[in-house]
Amino acid sequence: MNLPFSKHTLDNGLDVLLHEDRTCPIVAVNLWYHVGSKNERPGKTGFAHLFEHLMFEGSEHHDRGYFHPLQAAGASLNGSTNADRTNYWEVVPANALELALWMESDRMGYLLPALTEAKFSNQRDVVLNERRQNYENRPYGLASMAILAGLFPPDHPYHWTTIGEIADLHAVQLEEVQAFFRRYYHPANASLAIAGDIDPEAALSLARAYFGDIAPGPRAEPVAAAATLGGDSRLLLEDRVELPRLYMSWLSPAMFAPEDADLDLAADLLANGKTSRLYRRLVFEERIATDVSSGQNSREIAGFFQVTATAAPGHTLGEIEAVVLDEISRLVDLGPTDDEMERGRVQAEAQFVYRLQTVGGFGGKSDQLNAYNVFVGDPGYFERDLMRYETVTPASMRAAVDRYVRRAPRMTLSIVPRGRINLAIADSSAAVVS
């Protein structure tokens, strides 16, 4: 199992990754910019994501919406922003590859002449509505804001969510957006993957022709920041919900760092799926929770390990917390069983294969190549990535969970129905989200 590719770096610094797969007559164009909300500053949050919206509103040589010509060619397209990167992709019929490259290169090289105050203010309204829809008007929707703010100090770039703070979105000026573009949206800070029904040489020629003339911008300095939790902390948030929910979070290693895979497998073993320890105990046997999940949320410069569970009516978050802590201790003391280790490895392998099913879109092969290229500098990291999971041992998992979870300070968030703050974990103080 592998993901064959070739990598070419153009003179202006743009990485071009090519993967040929002729099974379906489609091509994925996937472009990553190594910029996300962690490149923002306090008071200027939400910038990277708002900018992503503007990238669909037209460029100098096509000063109209980007969806129209691409949908007319049979493409599906989208973009997304997270803390560490912004990506744009099209999946087009094989004959429309050149169109997709024309458009991606035009907005990389020639966006600013077409960027107007009117587009800017319209998309700010759209983003404010995206925020209302996905955060403010959604049960438990503000949890991520409270958790990130509670885990990372105010000047740490993971302190805020990608959607940004309302006040910042209102305050942002067009000139700031232009400066942001010049700094981060250029070939030397980007990686282009083309995957699917292509002749790699012809695709490379097209990429050179369309992107080769775009000037590189300033080198983007890596973001560095440290985070430590001085001790345990407890926060609460009142929300329009029926059942209280508990979020327990710990700082953990960054993506691909040592022990990241250990914690990833530990999260699965603890709380993902019906075979997991916490599901069995909390939902299946004791029935004090209605759901439970866990994740090692690893990002480029730091991570956080998380367990989330919703209380069943008549039960408290305190009962859940005690069981979670007990199971974490039991995992450290006794380790995983052979059967659990085997299932974890098989499932990891299966997930890797499932990810090879599509050439494009979020999580398809082109996205995967770019992720490896941008974060570890090697698009061929696929097999080594899988090896990270295959080399986890019961001892290494126990050590990782002990160090980063059992013995580490944790941030606990209770989300409770409005007016019922007595349902939160004792001694919690109100979280401030904006």
């Binding site: 007559p25 007319a72 019929p93 035009d106 203010s121 319209n122 069943a312 299966a350």
Partner: protein, 462 residues
């Protein structure tokens, strides 16, 4: 290397797309009546199995809404020697993903697994579908979880809107509830209901097993015959093919504007629509094209109006839900509270306009057709996509070359076809508008819409 000249004065013309072909479907029938279809798709060493049961939530008896969904939910709770947890350990050991998908007309039970585990995957699917344990203890737990979920959904605006909208459109008709049912109906369900439903409805003689992967048809048939051996339906071979009884849809709402109050909500969740048309309509392709122009894609009239022009929403879309019996046409959108009435007015205006006052133009139609046809191959990239497509053929009795014919058929559609179909199947006078939002803030504006006094439903009455 040839030099490519870049011309930024015009967009490159992609030219003609390669003709699309859908792989052939091999078909057999087992002695118990189970249809076994297979499609070869060898891109990745993965096999996708889907078992289509031609009954869904519209088969729920009156007062037992949610039964089909909870019955499907009980299938993975153990079989034979395997407990509920044991079943999931077996699935995890082969890295398989099991899913249930309950719609109004059908239930789809699927397993995706690595090709090297294909036979074990099929055996597990058969154990779950044909021989589930269905114990009282497991049922009590599953029902309790379902009730907790329904409790939580009271606070999810989209879920409240979907459920209320279907009830208002269809009343006690089999389409008048969502597959989850209600807290009230689910609370009345017993394990015997599930056992009866399983025996009567999940039966081989009306089901189709679809396998997609690098698989040999004869081998799949042999494996299936083995795995599903001993599975029989009830003796009467009566085939219930469409929701029975309880009459065709009559609008259940007497008012055209209904509000479910959600005090303080920063957005209003809207549904605007009416009962429309069945999957079997000869206007199917014309309506699919009309919907592309109206609200079925990013560059549709309604999304461009509400989002790109006015910034009132993160996105709006319309759809015809084509079912065995006439399904709903609906606009779904979440808009900022202060803009609620304006969004409703604009949306109803767009729906009315496309029927004639502002008919679909040549440019709009060619864009809609191109978007539907040029990238059609994208829809059949993975084994799961191909399997899902085959379930459409099985469920709606479509010809095997349906997907191959889709492109030429859509390409023949004219603006006259689209306008006629829109006029025939969209009726602004019958549109029902449902708002889940902050009544205090929007009440005054709503009164100005000319849709009559809004009927206010309390959260408790749902």
């Amino acid at each position: 290397m040839t030099t490519i000249s870049v011309d930024r004065s015009r967009l490159p013309d992609p030219g003609a797309a390669r003709p699309f072909t859908f792989p052939s479907i091999d078909k057999s029938v087992l002695s118990n009546g189970l249809k076994v279809w297979s499609v070869r798709h060898a891109a990745v060493p993965i096999v996708s199995y889907m078992l289509l049961v031609r009954s869904g939530s519209s088969s729920d008896p009156e007062g037992k809404e949610g039964l089909a969904a909870i019955a499907a939910d009980m299938l993975d709770e153990g079989s034979g020697e395997r407990s509920a947890i044991g079943m999931h350990e077996a699935l995890a050991r082969i890295g398989a993903q099991f899913d249930t998908d309950i719609g109004a007309d059908a239930a789809l039970l699927s397993i995706t697994t690595l090709a090297k585990c294909a036979d074990r995957g099929l055996q597990l699917l058969a154990d779950m579908v044909a021989r589930p344990s269905l114990t009282e203890a497991d049922f009590t737990r599953v029902r309790q979880l379902r009730l907790h979920r329904l409790t939580q959904l009271r606070d999810v605006p989209g879920a409240v809107a979907d459920r209320t909208f279907m009830r208002l459109l269809y009343g006690s008709h089999p389409y008048g509830h969502t597959p989850m049912g209600s807290e009230e109906s689910v609370a009345t369900l017993s394990v015997d209901d599930v056992r009866l439903f399983h025996a009567d409805v999940i039966r081989p003689d009306t089901a189709t097993l679809i396998a997609v992967g690098d698989c040999d048809h004869a081998e799949i048939v042999r494996l299936a015959a083995d795995a599903f051996e001993g599975w029989h339906g009830p003796d009467d071979l009566q085939v219930v093919d469409a929701p029975a009884g309880r009459g065709l849809a009559t609008p259940a709402a007497t008012s055209r504007l209904v509000v479910v109050s959600r005090p303080g909500a920063p957005q209003s969740e809207l549904r605007i629509g009416h009962v429309a048309v069945a999957r079997s309509t000869p206007d199917y392709h014309a309506l699919v094209a009309a919907n592309m122009v109206l609200g079925g894609q990013f560059v549709s009239r309604i999304n461009l109006n509400l989002r790109e022009d006015k910034g009132l929403t993160y996105g709006a879309r319309t759809s015809f839900d084509f079912r065995k019996l006439p399904g709903p046409f609906a606009l779904q959108v979440s808009v900022q509270t202060v803009a609620t009435a304006r969004a409703i007015e604009e949306s109803i205006g767009e729906i009315a306009a496309i029927r004639g006052p502002r008919p679909v133009t040549d440019d709009e139609l060619s864009l809609g057709i191109a978007a539907l046809t040029r990238g059609y191959a994208r829809n059949f990239e993975t084994a799961e996509q191909v399997a899902r497509a085959a379930t459409q053929i099985a469920l709606y009795d479509l010809p095997d070359d349906y997907f191959v014919q889709f492109v030429p058929r859509v390409e023949r559609i004219t603006t006259a076809d689209v306008t006629r179909a829109a006029a025939a199947h969209l009726n602004p006078e019958r549109l029902l508008t449902l708002v889940v939002g902050d009544l205090d803030v929007i009440a005054k504006d709503l009164e100005q819409l000319g849709l009559g006094q809004p009927v206010v439903l309390s959260a408790e009455s749902l």
